[in-house]
């Protein structure tokens, strides 16, 4: 039973992120889906897909063209920002080239070319955004990734160094993260100007596996807030790993949507309430690459029933993930009915759902996971 109406993917994704009216929970996954099948479909290869704007556009839109996934996500790695800021990358791993080492010892030295958006890899990303805008005339939402300040600062100063600095030399840490934030704001604005519909700041180093809630509060949150108010576009914040204990702070970040990994969806929903939307969370270690389409379908339905606003994967999808699995995820989104907040019957039923939830919550639960 399909509930598809005349809504376009862009309207649906924007409404889902900003808390508006939708017809179904969109399969608008902003995590990278550069599987072998999709690369074959558009004739893409590494490292060319990082350096050729048309190939990047084709590959970003391939999940939509082939599977009906409702986003296009240009930029496939989170090392691009570090590279622009001076880090060297290991291009032998050409699909996701990692940063080889820090570029700065002193945050006062952090600098970047004023015209960085016109050169090299940043220009490629921006051009691919323009290509996609023109190609779809806004029909398909363009959601490029942008590495968030804490992670960028970790790349350019060295992650361990930065984490140590938060304890030993907080001022220095703030300086580094502040500089990174300036950079991110410039790049983010350029992405919006090129035609991105929403931004996807990804901050894996800010995970509960690496830092404590207090560290998050002091060294990450203010910069998320600054980024959020400085770049005018809806934003989906992504943090990998265990973020259960960070949720109360993430809620204050000023971002519009939280894309999560390990926490259970119902917990994220409960903690965020109605103040922020959430996106998640299909496991990519086992479920997506090894599971059956039916399992993917059922898990998607489960996420929807637990209250996510957009269903997406927990992290980037692995290369071997099959097309049937991706299509099952899309089908589940389109076929699962959701309550209509304008319909009085659904609202009264929601009272019943609330009553049941209260009953459930009388049972104690434990939040596990994470180093902290």
């Amino acid at each position: 039973m399909e509930l598809v109406t005349e809504m376009t993917p862009t309207r649906r994704a924007l409404a889902a992120v900003l808390g508006g009216r939708i017809d179904y929970v969109p399969p608008a996954n902003p995590l990278a889906q550069t599987t072998l099948d999709l690369m074959e479909f558009c004739g893409a290869s590494w490292p060319k897909a990082h350096r050729d704007a048309k190939m990047m556009a084709d590959l970003a839109a391939a999940p939509w063209e082939v599977c009906g996934i409702e986003t296009a996500r240009p930029q496939f790695d989170i090392s691009l920002e570090a590279e622009v800021l001076g880090c060297k990358l290991d291009w032998t791993k050409s699909d996701r080239p990692p940063v080889t080492g820090p570029a700065y010892k002193n945050p006062k030295d952090i600098s970047w070319d004023d015209k960085f958006t016109e050169k090299d890899r940043a220009a490629v990303v921006l051009e691919s955004i323009s290509i996609l805008r023109e190609r779809y005339a806004g029909y398909l939402p363009i959601v490029p990734v942008i590495t968030a300040p804490f992670t960028v600062a970790g790349h350019i100063m060295g992650v361990e160094n930065l984490v140590m600095m938060t304890v030993t030399d907080p001022e220095k840490a703030h300086e580094a993260i502040s500089a990174a934030t300036e950079f991110c704001i410039e790049y983010g604005r350029a992405q919006v100007a090129a035609g991105a519909h929403m931004l996807f700041p990804a901050d894996p180093s800010a995970s509960g596996d690496l830092i404590s809630p207090e560290t998050y509060k002091e060294f990450v949150l203010p910069y998320h807030q600054k980024f959020a108010r400085s770049v005018s576009a809806p934003k989906i914040l992504h943090i990998c790993g265990h973020t259960e204990k960070l949720l109360p702070y993430i809620k204050q970040s000023g971002m519009d949507c939280f894309s999560f990994d390990s926490p259970p969806a119902w917990l994220v929903r409960k903690e965020l309430g109605n103040s922020m939307s959430c996106l998640g969370s299909l496991d990519v270690i086992d479920l997506m690459p090894n599971g059956t389409p039916e399992q993917v379908y059922n898990r998607t339905v489960e996420c929807i029933q637990q209250g996510v606003d957009i269903v997406g994967t927990a992290c980037d999808v692995s290369n071997g993930t099959s097309l049937p699995n991706l299509k099952a995820y899309v089908a589940a989104c389109r076929e699962t009915p959701i309550p209509d907040s304008t319909d009085v019957e659904d609202c009264v039923r929601a009272l019943g759902v609330a009553k049941a939830k209260n009953i459930k919550e009388m049972l104690p639960y434990d939040i596990e996971g994470g180093g902290f």
Binding site: E2, V4, E6, T8, F41, C42, G43, D58, L59, A61, A62, W64, E65, G68, R135, Y136, A137, Y139, L140
Partner: protein, 544 residues
């Protein structure tokens, strides 16, 4: 002294093709094609309707005149034979023989009019039958049964089907003649698919010609339309994005969609989730302001595709064979030559276990050429037809076909889930038919449907007209409404270019006449066959 020559002719619903052959070395000297059949109508049933209403005699004159035109243009020297192949309706009309048994699927009408069963063996007659010199031999190959004619026989012989095993052959046209070979037995059948797969009964459909959208090619940004240009060569056209409905206007502007284009659209639409039979999201795919593919078009295409698939399955079920054993598919007919076999397979026109596809081109013309060179072949053809007569399955009478077709209708026009059809097919031991097909290897015997055209290939226009007069106010509505511009008024007389007229497929002139006076088919009116271009009215009596 020039060698003896023969003309090989193929008379089809969509046109006539003739080749001049050197009988000494068997080479084709030149080829001449007329891309319309001179009988008014868009498909074979229309031709039959015309013949029933206006009489076989008048219909025959149209055909004979055209044959003469073609042969004149082939400029034969020392013509000794004319071999004519085609479907049994065209051949019977050409020879002025009984054709009415071909107009009806049921027998009661034939009984009423005392039309006995008609046998159509291969034969050789003298040329004066068609207005040629009596020394010229006219060679006509046999029909198997009224549905399976000389052209179907040609399809089986010339493709290599008869030498193969566990294989299927299909002429993907209006009548979808098909045959299944298992061991030494050949099962034949003919599914009334309807002309949707030739671009008819589709709102923006057209026969292959300049401006025809004939295929779609998958690119990362969408589907690139392939359009025939003025020289009938395939060029790039607009880029169509199925999911978003965006069209980027590029390349050759399409004017209509051919049958192969319809197949490509259905395939692309279903692949990209834009079509879920019977519905197209947004109710149509708009390719240009004037060309769209609508829900109704999808239903028409679906009925044709369903008839073909049900036909294939019926043959296999009657033969007691699982579809998993059928590995080779011979695709015949113009549609069969130009369609993309991968797309054809994906929409159900080729069974899923086929791993070899052979696109064989115009087999009818090839057979005509073969019997022109070796007329004795007629005897072995006559023997062959007797063997084939045994296992013909008339789908219109088959309860298996009826049963399967009701499921096809449900799937294509009512939105029934395919798993219910799959369950039904499992009952017939054909489970897995609706699953994902294998990827076959494709062999194309030639890029054009005529393999060897000799030193030249000429295209002719039909020049035959019917004229009539009657009492009416000459308001001219009929002329304005004719979609093919086949109708004109001159000095109070109505002139119809018969080749361009769509006949019973259209009838806009008759149905929209405010006085109910338009009656071109009424045999009481004047009926002249005259030839342009001189514009002098000469109603020539034919030497018949």
């Amino acid at each position: 002294m020039t060698a003896e020559q023969a003309v090989a002719l193929d008379i089809g619903t969509s046109g006539l093709r003739g080749q001049l052959v050197n009988l000494e070395n068997g080479q084709v000297i030149r080829t001449c094609i007329m891309n319309r059949n001179p009988i008014p109508g868009a498909n074979i049933m229309d031709h039959l309707s015309f013949a029933l209403e206006c009489g076989g005699d008048k219909t025959r004159r149209l055909l004979v005149s055209t044959v003469h035109d073609i042969i004149e243009r082939l400029k034969p020297e020392h013509l000794s034979r004319i071999a004519v192949c085609g479907n049994p309706i065209q051949l019977s009309l050409l020879e002025g023989k009984e054709f009415r048994d071909l107009a009806y699927a049921g027998e009661s009408k034939l009984k009423e009019e005392n039309i006995g069963p008609v046998d159509r063996p291969g034969h050789i007659v003298s040329g004066d039958i068609l207005g040629f010199d009596s020394g010229v031999e006219i060679i006509i190959p046999p029909a198997v049964r009224h549905e399976i004619g000389a052209d179907a026989l040609a399809m089986m012989i010339e493709s290599g089907f008869l030498e193969d095993d566990f294989c299927l052959v299909t002429d993907y046209g209006t009548n979808a003649e098909m045959a299944l070979k298992v061991g030494d037995t050949v099962y034949t059948g003919s599914a009334a698919a309807g002309p949707a797969l030739e671009g008819q009964q589709i709102g923006s459909g057209m026969l292959a010609g300049p401006g025809a959208l004939s295929d779609l090619c998958r690119c990362p940004q969408g589907w690139r339309a392939k359009v025939l240009d003025s020289r009938m060569e395939v060029q790039d056209g607009p880029m169509i994005n199925m999911r978003s409905g965006m069209i980027h206007k590029e390349g050759v502007v399409p004017k209509g969609i051919t049958g192969t284009g319809v197949i490509a659209l259905v395939h692309a639409g279903i692949m990209d989730g834009r079509m879920s039979p019977p519905k197209i999201t947004g109710d149509s795919i708009d390719i240009t302001r004037n060309i769209r593919f609508t829900n109704e078009d999808l239903a028409e295409a679906g009925k044709a595709l369903g008839a073909i698939r049900a036909g294939h399955l019926t043959l296999m079920i009657e033969a007691g064979v699982s579809h998993k054993d059928i590995h080779t598919m011979y695709m015949a007919g113009a549609s069969g030559t130009y369609v993309d076999p991968i797309k054809a397979m994906s929409v159900g026109m080729v069974p899923p276990s086929v791993i070899n596809v052979v696109q064989v081109g115009n087999t009818s013309l090839q057979l005509a050429k073969d019997i022109a060179i070796k007329p004795d072949e007629i005897d072995s053809l006559n023997v062959l037809r007797k063997e084939l007569l045994a296992k013909h399955i008339m789908f219109a009478k088959s309860s298996v076909f009826s049963d399967l077709y009701s499921y096809e209708l449900a799937v294509w026009t009512e939105g029934m889930d395919t798993y219910r059809y799959s369950r039904k097919l499992a009952e017939y031991d054909q489970s897995g038919y609706l699953g994902t097909p294998l990827k076959p290897t494709i062999r194309k015997v030639s890029d054009l449907d005529i393999i060897d055209t000799g030193e030249s290939l000429e295209m002719l226009d039909t020049k035959i007209e019917i004229r009539g007069t009657w009492n009416c106010s000459r308001c001219g509505i009929c002329v304005r409404l004719c979609p093919e511009k086949a109708l004109n008024m001159d000095n109070g007389r109505f002139i119809v270019n018969t080749g361009m007229c769509l006949g019973t497929a259209c009838m806009r002139c008759v149905e929209n006449c405010p006085e109910g006076a338009f009656a071109l088919w009424n045999t009481k009116n004047e009926f002249h066959i005259s030839k342009r271009p001189n514009e002098t009215v000469t109603a020539e009596p034919f030497p018949l």
